[in-house]
Point group: C2
Chain length 183, copies 2
């Protein structure tokens, strides 16, 4: 396998925001030429496939300014610095939905947009749910809670009301899990 | 359902790059309070689940500066302005792998990071592959081509060498497709 690494020649900070930062890196390409990479730094995130006793998946409906759209997503949130991802997942599930879960499983972790951002998302499965009560949204966070069957999720994907990578991946996995369980 | 829309009060351009732009929006929240949203604009992308006659999936190995890692991803690329996504998909598959496909199916489209970016990715399935010959990478693009079985893909996910949202979603879907085909 070839060494495809790009060496950093210079890194210029462009913007430091509340959530993301932007930098422009000057890099040496594998062939020795120079190029530039625009890079967004993000603290990382968690998302939760939370399955109810009636075999429905919890979804939050929320407005996303970047899309100018209100969409359904699985519960998710940014990591606080130094916080263990599983703790973030437990905290976000309770804060966004009011539910706690007895059984937690790490499913997979992935980068959401590797071409320009380092956001790394840890996806968990939460089962054996119970009401926790500590519903507590961030002061700029407004969501509505729903629970959908797999068939309803597939219809929402078709209609484009479920339309983000983590939620689509979550639903595909949930279908695989149901197929395996039914065997 | 509640109206969760956030009205834009002001939008400040922060940075205009080669690929992404960054803006800071001042918004009115549903409760009338003011908040700020950091928003990355991206031209959109396509990605391709390309299945060979031996039932393997094509993958490109490439270095991602944002992650400082070399990873395996399904073939993908940014959309040119005004270009139909299916054309972009056909172009990117041929440019990155040298393959053309006779059968194209749109699977799903999703936002990769709806919390801060408007990148919208169209995912296609390409079947009945043949060598096209027009292998032509961008001048700052260096990739290696691989073809993996489903089992190999699952191992690469476990090892973290496949670790981006679109590729993980693609592999989950490919497994679902194989299960359906075997029934």
């Amino acid at each position: 396998m070839r060494n495809l690494t790009e060496k950093t020649k210079k890194s210029e900070p462009i913007y430091k925001g509340k959530i993301i930062t932007l930098q422009l890196d000057e890099v040496e390409l594998p062939n020795g030429n120079t190029s530039y990479r625009e890079i967004v730094r993000h603290p990382g995130a968690v998302a939760v496939i939370a399955i109810t006793d009636e075999n429905k998946i919890l979804m939050v409906r929320q407005f996303r300014k970047a899309l100018e759209k209100t969409i359904y997503e699985i519960p998710a949130g940014k990591r606080d610095q130094g916080e263990e991802p599983e703790l973030t997942a437990k905290r976000e599930l309770e804060e966004e939905t009011g539910y706690v879960a007895n059984k937690w499983t790490h499913l997979v972790s992935f980068y959401t947009s590797p071409g320009f951002a380092d956001e790394y998302l840890h996806l968990y499965i939460a089962e054996e749910l119970a009401m926790g009560g500590n519903l507590q949204l961030d002061e700029d966070e407004f969501v509505e809670l729903f629970a959908f069957t797999l068939e309803e999720c597939k219809e929402l994907i078709q209609k484009g009301d479920i339309c983000d990578a983590k939620t689509v991946a979550a639903i595909y996995h949930w279908e695989l899990q149901q197929i395996r369980a039914s065997k």
